[in-house]
Each structure stands twice: as structure tokens, then as C-alpha cells.
């Protein structure tokens, strides 16, 4: 494993594009959370996100993980370009000929993904603690870490998404088309989800749309997305209008987290099958 890490370090550390993107990513991660502390005008309305309670415990975890997950596209870019480069420069073939097994090659990429995701998760955790300490407006928060499980969800959400990027990169071997396929996949999932919801409209109406489960919610990108519920309903303004006094604790949707982790494993296995079966 040490060998694989050294290899990846040599390959990525000296790759300027990857280095710039990693720095940009960390910068944006911090900047995005920092943005939440700023008061800004939206038309005539003054927006004060701190006043809206985004840094209040325990929902802080929901806000930070949900919004920082959006810029995982930077990490996706790093994974896709570095993996596609291995095929474009035919260094994958040379690695194999030099004696690296296909399993080791894949393992080195999986390690990179796990480490990048872990670093991102740790950063989000630390930033959350820092900003929470400074901007939390709830006195003596009782449930400070009640939703910290969302950090775990964040990790698996990232890992699953990047494994999908890895699989598509190995399948397509062209970065632009890999992004196109990702987008198409996302689009198709959206359409399937829409179809299912439309077809089961009467169940939804009968059930208030609360406890009903949709099969399409478990499609890969949907499962990843559902691992961290959207926290918009937890802004103070929404709470007062829609659900007065609803200070519930957000349950971590472990069923979706587990599904994402399952998908991550499936993507790795499929990647291995492609590497093994194809002639290089």
C-alpha cells in the first residue's frame, strides 16, 4: 500500500493542474462556509444567514455538509483528468508492462479517492467546529453533535460520486466525454425519478407525500444526493412561516448512505472488470 501511495503521490503532486485544483478546492471549501457569515443584499431584501441560524447547533452540520458537497465537482475533475491521462499518455499500459498489476493500479486510484474524500471530510468537520464556535446563536446547545452523523454521510457521498467518476473515466478514457456521460446519467436519473413520481401521484396525494418511498430515490446519484437532506426548510424564516416551532433533529438517512457505499463498491468492481477484460 505504501508503494501505491508513493506512486500516486509522484503522479499527482507534480501534476500542476491537479495541484492547482486541490488548492482551489480547499480555498473554495473555506470560502463557501465563510460566505455564510456575510450579510448581503438580494434585491431590496437584506440576507443574514447567521441570523437565519445556519451555524446553529445541531443543524450546522446539515448546512455545511449539504453546501460544501456541491463543489465536489472539483475533486471529480482531479480524478477524471488524472485517470484519463493514464490512458491518453498510455502510461497505464506502461505501468502494467513494468509489472504493476491491474488490481494494484485500480487500488492506487481507489486510495486516492478515499484520501481526497477523507481530507475533504476532515476539513468540513474542522471548519464546522470553528464556524460553529464563533457564529452559533443558540445558548447552551444541548444537541451540539446530534447531527454529526451527516459528516459520515458526506464522506460516503463523496467516495461514491468519485468512484462513479473513476468508473466512467476508465470506460470512456476521454475527459470531455466522461463529463458528458456523468451529466447524461444525472439527466436520465432525473427523468426516471420524475416518471415514477408522476405515475404514483395518487399515492403521494393520499399519503401527504411524507413517508412514501420511491425506488428511483435509490438510483446512484439520487441515493448520494439523498444522503444529506436539503436544509433549506431549516432556515429560521422558513420555520416561522411553514412549521412554527418545529425544531426537530434531522435524522441521518442511513439507508441512502448505505446505498451510496454499496454503489461505491459496485463501481470499483465494474472498473476492475473493464481493466481486466479489455485489451490495452
Amino acid at each position: 500500500m505504501k508503494k501505491l501511495l508513493q506512486l500516486e503521490w509522484l503522479k499527482i503532486y507534480n501534476y500542476k493542474t491537479a495541484r492547482i485544483f486541490i488548492i482551489l478546492y480547499c480555498f473554495f471549501l473555506f470560502g463557501l462556509i465563510l460566505l455564510g457569515t456575510q450579510k448581503f443584499k438580494l434585491g431590496t431584501m437584506e440576507v443574514d444567514l447567521v441570523g437565519q441560524g445556519i451555524f446553529n447547533y445541531p443543524q450546522l452540520w446539515n448546512f455545511t455538509t449539504y453546501f460544501t458537497a456541491i463543489i465536489k465537482i472539483f475533486l471529480a475533475f482531479i480524478i477524471i483528468t488524472t485517470v484519463v491521462n493514464e490512458f491518453q499518455n498510455r502510461t497505464f499500459k506502461q505501468n502494467i508492462i513494468d509489472g504493476l498489476t491491474k488490481k494494484e493500479f485500480l487500488a492506487s486510484k481507489v486510495l486516492t479517492i478515499v484520501i481526497l474524500s477523507a481530507v475533504s471530510t476532515i476539513l468540513v468537520f474542522i471548519f464546522s467546529l470553528i464556524f460553529g464556535a464563533k457564529y452559533n446563536t443558540v445558548p447552551n446547545p444541548e444537541y451540539k453533535f446530534a447531527e454529526v452523523g451527516l459528516i459520515v454521510a458526506y464522506f460516503f457521498k463523496l467516495v461514491a460520486f468519485l468512484m462513479l467518476c473513476l468508473l466512467f473515466s476508465i470506460l470512456i478514457r476521454k475527459s470531455a466525454f466522461t463529463f458528458v456521460l456523468l451529466f447524461l446519467w444525472w439527466f436520465v436519473e432525473g427523468i426516471l425519478g420524475g416518471i415514477e413520481k408522476w405515475m404514483r401521484l395518487k399515492d403521494v396525494l393520499a399519503d401527504d407525500g411524507k413517508s412514501i418511498q420511491f425506488v428511483t430515490d435509490y438510483l446512484p446519484l439520487s441515493a448520494m444526493s439523498n444522503s444529506i437532506p436539503a436544509p433549506i426548510g431549516r432556515l429560521n424564516i422558513v420555520k416561522t412561516i411553514l412549521q412554527p416551532g418545529s425544531d426537530v433533529i434531522q435524522r441521518v438517512p442511513w439507508e441512502f448512505v448505505l446505498a451510496s457505499a454499496g454503489y461505491a463498491i459496485v463501481f470499483v468492481i465494474l472498473s476492475y472488470v473493464i481493466l481486466k477484460k479489455r485489451d490495452w
Partner: protein
Amino acid sequence: MFIFANVNVGCMNNVLEIFNLTKRFGSLTAVDNLSFQVQKGNVYGLLGPNGSGKSTTLGMLLTSINPTSGDWKWFDNTSHEDALKRIGATIERPNFYPYLNATQNLLITAKIKGVPASNIDKNLELVGLLDRKKDKFSTYSLGMKQRLAIASAMLNDPEVLILDEPTNGLDPMGIIQIRDIISSIATKGTTIILASHLLDEVEKVCSHVIVLRNGKSLYSGEVNGMTNSKPYFELSAADMTSLKAALQQIGGMTIGTQHGDVVRVDYEGNMTPESLNRMLFDKGVVLSHLIKKKNSLETQFLELVKK
């Protein structure tokens, strides 16, 4: 004094044995039931026109292409993947990380092969790239890239060196440099398999050849044994008519084609250039040109492929 003889005991010296190797791409059979052996310490030319299956064969031996059927055995039955650590190989085009310099690229190879980084400079020196080691691969000329590929393949002091078209696309200077490097490696006793479609290249460095056509092996063995053609003479004299007349008088001589004022003469039995010269001089013919020649690899190859 003891003399350690290098006894050639059948398969004892085989570093590679290939059994009925076949690769089909759809309806195309790129490699067709190929079998041959490679013995330790020899330089093999894998010869054949473009598309004859050379690269596919090497690709399978190097585990980058999955064979349709058949198998092969490296060394003493080492697993295919472990064997790669004892082999060095370059493929058609040099493949490196363009944004890394020579040292960094070879560091990756060293990590994969599990050899110390101290091997790097030694091999860069072997191919004459030591003074460019801090330059990015993307700034290299094709000749330098090919030489870096050889340095990379030599990093683990391989028992077998596989070179696939190492002089492809190079200028004459580059070709000579590569050829010199190959020759110097060969003198160290490394077994070399050199795939090429350039016949004179193979002729200059190889002791053995494997001739492929349409994925089938036409010949496998020593270069000299490829066809049982005999040596011949090339002769020239001021008076070609009397030269030919004298040759007919000697007997056992077949006068062949004449190019310019040089005529090819095949003969029966044994004859040295000295004795021929003396006989012709006795008959009053003074030669201006006399060479005893063997069929070039090219002629032999064409003869073989024509069959």
C-alpha cells in the same frame, strides 16, 4: 584451471516458451497458434511486415492483451505477473508522464519494479540522457524519448529485454545511437527480443530470428539457418566477356544477374576467394572486384515469405 562450460541442455536454457498462442480480434486472427522458444543470452529478432502480429504477441507476453487461447512460460514457471519484474520492455511508442522529468518518470518505474532509485542515474548514463534528466519528458525529441524508454526498461537489470520497434520514426543518427545501445546491452549477456520490420536492423544485431506472417511463425532459429542458401561471389573485370568465358571453362559455375559491371556467380562445392582469383588469373583475367557474399536477410526473408 577450471573452465565452466555453458552447456546447452535443451529447455534448461529457455527463458521463454510459448505454446499455441492465439489472439483473435473479432474475425481477425492477429496471432495464430504461435509457438516458439527463446534461449538465454541470445538476441532475437521478431521479424515480420506491419500487421503480422508482432506487437500483439508482445502485448500478450506483457499481460496488456488477453490471449484468446494458448499459454507461455517465463523462466522457471514464474507467474506471468512476477516475471514482469525480471523483464524490461518498451512498446511501440515511448509512454511516460509528459509533465514529469526523466528522473521523476524513472522513479515511478523504479517503484513499480521494486528497485532502488540509485539505479536511475546509471541507466540514464547508459542511454546518454544524464545531462537532460531534469528536463520534462514533453520537451524530448523522439530519439530521446526512445532512449529514455530503454533506460526505463533497463532499470531492473532485466534478464530479458523486449524492444518493440525501438528505431521507429528516428533519423539515421538516432537509429545508430539506439543500435549502439542495443549492442552494448547484448554484450553483457542480456537476452534481447527485438521486434522490427526493418530487416537490416535485425541483421545487424540479432543472432536468432522468428519470422511472423499473418500471426503464424514461418521460421524460428538462427539467422544463418533461415534459408539453406549458399554463399556466392560478386565479380568484376575490365573485360567482362573474357571473365565470363573463363568462368565457363572452370566449370561448376553459374553466372547470374549482372548489375552494372558486377556479376553474380554461384558455385558448387567449396571455393575460397583466393583459389578463384588464382584460377582466373591463370586464365589471364585480372579481377577489379571480388567479394564472397551471403544472401542478405532481406533476400532470405523475401524468399521465406514468398513460399
